[in-house]
């Protein structure tokens, strides 16, 4: 190396950046820096704080504490438009383009100056689009409607916009999640070209191989903290996994009392092409909590939706207490004794406008004959029983669902399904967005239900929760159930399976 001027300042520096959402500490003082001409990978399990970090960099969120320095300038109050002016661009997994407009129109909308009455120079717009597309190596017509493009082609249009905007910092959020390997290679070429032109790239991916192929440095986030930034050349797969999970289960979980029971639900090679679930075989016993782990998009919720008849299985067999069943709609699934507490409780779990008692009895109306006379007193009593048993904090059974806190909404959602007296309870992220106190209460309830003989399938992205609650842990990846681990497994084994690393390799 020449001994010349000191190295240029980083394109971007974050110092002790912190962000809270309500009581949840999403980021607790993260240091991060990005140099010109590097690919800096950002890695962490679900909920480690990657999205929050990205949103702070793109100006979508304001940090509660800490400093953002872009090109030597310390910024307070970074907004999305200021971020754009500073040359920060973000390419999301799902491109945010207008599907009914053409490529050139989309590029024009992003790059041309604002002004509602300004005249549009169509030939110039087209020319510019052609140039930018050529620069990112995209062989696309500027006149093509975006809806006719494939996902990777849309990504290239996004990248073209970023290049055209003169972006110096490009954030790529899991860009390869839906790409084939050939499309990946093309994307990598574009990323390398960007890097050699001096752009700094923040690259988020769950695929470790990609990080080793593409990245120069890697920063690992865990629980909203950075646990280290290292050059990729100085670290191994196993080392990375260890950084990602390296913590003990720090919360007390109620102990399991499961000793074995009848098989309640058995899946034999169940698949559903439309849902992206392939060849899943498993058996869940009465009294057992079966944890389903995996990364976001690994097919866990999709599997739950198959079981619940939302996207019916198109192959394989589902057996309930030994009898084959084919749930084709939630109504059928409920009648069979399945219950599904969905992930997005604000949207699909609790109906915010309806009072708590009606929310709780919603799924049992469906089992009654439609003309059944509802005894409001009975309904109220049922609601009061659940409110007491699950310790729902509310003004009363008539309070609207929307007046409750997240944890209490989750309990109401749970109560609705318990009211159906199911044989199998499928919980999708039961404690997501729930405060710590309510969380351990929900854990206690789950344990009690299992003890009472319910078979529980618990989907969770919270690794300690999976480890602390599950009697067995199924790990999904790419729509397949790849591994079933015993409940006493360590975090490392689960994470390795979720990331697709061989256990032997991971343990080495």
């Amino acid at each position: 190396m020449l001994s010349g001027p000191p190295p240029p300042p980083p394109l971007l520096t974050l110092r002790r950046a912190a962000k809270n959402f309500g009581g949840v500490r999403a980021l607790r003082g993260v240091d991060f820096d990005l140099q010109a001409g590097e690919v800096h990978a950002l890695l962490g399990e679900n909920g480690a704080g990657k999205s929050t970090l990205i949103k702070i960099i793109t100006g979508a969120h304001q940090p509660d504490a800490g400093e953002i320095i872009v090109a030597g300038r310390s910024l307070t109050g970074l907004t999305p438009s200021l971020a754009q002016q500073l040359g920060i661009a973000c390419i999301y997994q799902q491109p945010a383009l207008f599907p009914d407009l053409t490529v050139a129109e989309n590029i024009g909308l992003r790059l041309e100056p604002a002004g509602s009455m300004r005249r549009i120079n169509w030939s110039q717009r087209r020319q510019r689009a052609l140039e930018l597309l050529a620069r990112v190596g995209a062989n696309l017509s500027p006149e093509a409607e975006v809806r006719t493009l494939s996902m990777p082609e849309q990504q290239l249009v996004e990248i073209a916009c970023a290049v055209g905007a003169g972006a110096r910092i490009v954030v790529m959020d899991e860009p390869t999640a839906s790409l084939t390997s050939r499309e990946q290679d093309r994307l990598f070429t574009v990323v390398r070209e960007l890097r050699s032109s001096g752009v700094g790239i923040i690259y988020i991916s769950h695929r470790l191989d990609e990080i080793f192929t593409l990245a120069d440095r890697v920063t690992v986030l865990r629980d909203g903290e950075s646990v280290g930034t290292q050059p990729v050349s100085a670290i191994t797969h196993a080392g990375l996994i260890k950084l990602m999970v390296g913590r003990e289960v720090d919360q007390l979980y109620p102990p399991t009392e499961f000793t074995g029971g009848e098989i309640v639900l058995e899946l034999r090679n169940v698949g559903c092409a439309a849902a992206g679930v392939y060849n899943v075989s498993l058996a869940v016993r009465a009294g057992e909590v079966f944890g389903l782990a995996g990364l976001v998009g690994a097919g866990r919720s999709e599997l739950a939706r198959v079981l619940f008849g939302l996207t019916p299985a198109d192959r394989g067999e589902i057996l309930l207490c030994g009898k084959p069943i084919t749930p084709r709609s939630p109504a059928e699934a409920v009648a069979l004794g399945l219950a599904y507490v969905p992930e997005d409780r604000r949207r699909h779990g609790v109906v915010l406008e309806l009072p708590i008692d009606q929310n709780i009895t919603m799924a049992i109306h469906a089992r009654l004959f439609p003309t059944a006379w509802l005894k409001l007193g009975t309904e109220r009593k049922l609601a009061l029983d659940f409110i007491r048993d699950l310790a729902v904090k509310c003004a009363g059974p008539q309070a609207p669902g929307g007046s409750l806190s997240g944890g209490n909404q989750q309990k109401v959602s749970l109560a609705r399904w318990l009211a159906t007296q199911p044989k199998i309870l499928i919980l999708d992220e039961p404690t997501q967005g729930v405060d710590v106190g309510a969380k351990s209460e929900i854990h206690r309830i789950i344990r009690q239900l299992a003890k009472a003989g319910l078979a529980v399938i618990m989907i969770s992205s919270d690794l300690p929760e999976i480890l602390g609650m599950s009697d067995r842990i199924g790990v999904m990846r790419g729509g397949k159930l790849t591994t079933i681990l015993p409940g006493q497994s360590d975090a490392h084994a689960v994470m390795a399976a979720a990331l697709g690393q061989e256990l032997a390799k991971g343990a080495a």
Binding site: A333, H348, V350, L354, A366, L374, G402
Partner: protein, 312 residues
């Protein structure tokens, strides 16, 4: 805020209007004109019950006015051919139910937006009727008007029928599981589906129901006059939608009840005779009705914002 704030406030407004009338225009309370007013509104009340369900389920049906016209003329022609009323009534209801089923099939089956579908069926039914009937009136045989009874008995029969239906709808929506499904589908169809309800069936059946009620209402209107003209029922859809909205049923679905809608209907229906008795120019009628509707919509908007702001 009380859950029934909207219903209560409409009822209070109605009470105030009635009080003012008692004080300043006691002539309003003459028995026979008042009974006539209520009888004229009885068919509207029946259609309104159906519309309340439609809007609670987060749909809209603007074809009810045209359905009403077609059912009226259809029923009138059958009666003119000598069909007895006991046969005309189910025939008219089935005709309406068929129109409702067609709407419901397009909306729930093919997942088309209800505003466009019912706009199309509104125009189709109206123009089809004009084409066939060429504006001709249908003269009804003797014995149809007031069921062949005296006017007062006939009027009371109609009022009693409409009020019974209102009561039945009110109880159905509160105490019968299927009524709850209408609310559930209107607030959150996906949550309803996850709870094992079949939202598209609910939507379909609600449209069939409103169609059947429109047929019933057409028959109830038929017996009030010696002849029936093809323009009967034009503007009915706006009248019932206005009543339902004024009565506190949220246009975004999932909230409200037929009792509030009933109060809304009475409030709007009072405007015209009240003005007459207070010697205010009749031109004010529509303006005041418009203001009442606007006030209701603004109240709903504020309530929505309050709900979001409180827990968002």
């Amino acid at each position: 805020m009380n859950r029934y704030f909207r219903e209560i406030s409409v009822t209070v407004a109605l009470g105030l209007v009635l009080l003012v009338m008692a004080g300043f225009a006691p002539g309003f309370y003459q028995a026979q004109p008042l009974l006539s007013l209520i009888t004229r509104e009885a068919p509207t009340l029946v259609v309104m019950c159906g519309m309340a369900l439609i809007i609670i389920s987060r749909q809209i049906d603007i074809s009810v006015g045209s359905q009403f016209s077609v059912c009226s003329i259809g029923a009138g022609l059958l009666a003119a051919r000598g069909w007895p009323l006991v046969a005309v009534l189910p025939a008219a209801m089935m005709m309406g139910a068929a129109f409702g089923a067609f709407n419901g099939w397009l909306i729930a089956g093919l997942r088309l937006p209800s505003i466009v579908v019912t706009l199309a069926t509104m125009v189709m039914l109206r123009q089809g009727l004009n084409l066939l009937q060429q504006g001709a009136f249908v003269n009804l045989p003797d014995g149809v008007q007031w069921f062949g009874l005296s006017q007062t008995v006939g009027q009371w029969t109609l009022v009693a029928a409409a009020l019974s239906l209102l009561l039945a709808c009110g109880l159905f929506m509160r105490h019968v599981a299927a009524g709850r499904w209408v609310y559930a589908v209107g607030t959150d169809a996906e949550a309803a589906r996850l709870a094992g309800i079949r939202p598209h069936w609910v939507t379909f059946l609600v449209f069939v129901f409103v169609g059947a009620l429109t047929g019933l209402a057409a028959t109830m209107n038929l017996v009030q006059s010696p002849q029936i003209q093809p323009l009967v029922g034009s503007g009915l859809e706006l009248k019932v939608i206005a009543a339902v909205v004024v009565g506190g049923v949220a246009i975004s679905g999932g909230r409200g009840n037929v009792w509030g809608a009933f109060a809304g209907l009475l409030l709007l229906a009072c405007v015209s005779p009240a003005l007459t008795h207070l010697h205010v120019e009749a031109y004010w009628e529509k303006a005041i009705q418009g203001m009442i509707i606007l006030l209701a919509v603004v109240a709903d908007g504020l309530r929505q914002r309050g709900l979001k702001g409180g827990h968002g």
